[in-house]
Amino acid sequence: MGVLIDNFGAILNGFKVTLALFVLGAICTIALGVVLGVMRVVPVVGFRAVASVYVGIFRNVPVVLVFFIVTLCFPMLGLRMPFFAYAVIALTLYESAFVCEAVRSGLNFVDRGQSEAARSIGMSGTQMLTTVIVPQALRYTLPAIANYMISLNKATSIAGVFGVAEATIQLKYLADENPSDIFVIFLGIGSGYMLINFVIAGSLHFYERRWRPA
């Protein structure tokens, strides 16, 4: 237990970075995921093709490979950024493909009467999507999105290997100094992740009940 108290500062700093990665990643992921999800159902062939190729690739590629590509290939194209930004980009690219599929199935789940009603009061296609269909679809997909947010939180750990000092990499640093206490450090950091996931699941569950689809 002593190790955890002595190194509380280091672990806490790690979790601050993890949380920052998670929050930024979650905002970007949901935004890109919703845009891609809408692109997949809109009657424009080009948009649908691009979105489905994107989903086909990024859902079937390991997240470590996405990190590898972003950190290695972006500098080659003259896109130099801090490692933190690379990590957020990689997490967004990977996880938004999953959110996109969830949003798509939610969009198809919204009752047909809703789109007919929106049309009959004279809404345009864009108006109908942004004010009637997407908000309802998001409610349907909330449980799936909660799962992907938890998976996003776990994926932030990969950033530790690509130059971001987040919580998982602290295990490696602390274990070098206190090799005998590694089990306690492991349990401590693991419980931190458990707590974050618990908060994510709990808050989304709260909104799920509040916004229960009619």
């Binding site: 080009g46 093709a49 290939c73 198809n108 047909r112 269909i133 776990k154 490696k172 458990m194």
Partner: protein
């Protein structure tokens, strides 16, 4: 209205085409399409190296998938036990390993157990046939052992939850009927509950297999010579990270996409057999088109 949709379609499609052409132009400007960067991928020697990496990835993946399915099923059944001293510890175990990042477990096991795995691998290598030990990969046990164990700890916890939900979803009448016929617990599970649960779970289980396969890339971090590590070695030796990562990415997509597609197909099929309101299943694109056409 239909004409307007057509105009939108053409405009949007040409916009995306222009964007793609611009992106490719950018790549060409950076000199990424030069033959020298891509020509090494025409040599069979390089493909032999990639093949070895692919074999290592598949070896780890097969271990991970098999073990996580077996352990996961056992965990799922154990969480449904009516004995509290089994149910609760297993519940804590599953919740912990489900929500911890797999990389944390990989680091932990690599730092603590890799020496034991190395020793075990050496013993097994000496005492089995050579073809068997190369096929299973006993010589890499130092890295593949912690990797497989970490992936199995995580995936079996996730699969355990899937199995538990699948068993709970079987209608209660089924187990009542089995009890009335005088079946014991084991028979009830084996003959009645698991086969019926499996039908509902199979899409999820198959996509979890894809997840296991993808998770083997964590071995890259602890120095297991898998497909991704091979790609990294190629990229740094030939100074061509973009072509190398493109090739590696395409291999991963070629491995995982068919399995994901199978899972999706199974899910669609199971949805179709359930009676649902036909309009609900109509894709949004068709709906937008249909509404547009009517106006």
């Amino acid at each position: 209205m239909k004409r307007r949709l057509k105009v939108f379609n053409i405009l949007g499609t040409s916009l995306t085409a222009v964007l793609i052409v611009l992106a490719l132009w950018q790549l060409a400007e950076a000199g990424q399409f030069e033959g020298a960067l891509w020509s090494p991928f025409l040599e069979p020697g390089l493909w032999r190296t990639i093949g070895a990496g692919l074999a290592a990835t598949l070896r780890a993946a097969v271990w991970c998938i098999l073990l996580s399915l077996i352990v996961g099923t056992l965990l799922g059944i154990a969480r449904l036990s009516d004995k509290r001293w089994i149910r609760w510890p297993i519940g804590i175990w599953v919740e912990f390993f489900r929500s911890v990042p797999p990389l944390l477990v990989v680091f932990f096991l690599f730092l603590t157990c890799s020496r034991w795995f190395d020793g075990l691998g050496l013993i097994l290598q000496r005492n089995t046939w050579r073809w068997f030990s190369t096929m299973v990969g006993f010589s890499d046990f130092k890295t593949v052992g912690p990797l497989v164990m970490a992936v199995v700890l995580q995936q079996s916890a996730i699969i355990g939850e899937v199995v538990r939900a699948g068993i709970l979803a079987v209608p209660k009448g089924q187990s009542d009927a089995a009890r009335a016929l005088g079946m014991n617990d084991g028979k009830l599970l084996r003959i009645i509950l698991l086969p019926q649960a499996l039908r509902g779970m199979s899409p999820t289980l198959i996509s979890e297999c894809v997840r296991s396969l993808k998770a083997t890339t964590l071995g890259y971090i602890i120095g297991y010579l898998d497909l991704l590590r091979t790609g990294q070695i190629i990229a740094s030796a030939l100074h061509n990270p973009i072509p190398a990562s493109f090739v590696i990415m395409m291999i991963y997509v070629a491995l995982c996409l068919p399995i994901s597609q199978l899972a999706e197909w199974l899910e669609q099929r199971s949805k179709r057999t359930r009676p649902l309101d036909a309009t609900v299943n109509l894709p949004m694109a068709d709906r937008l088109l249909a509404v547009g056409a009517r106006q």
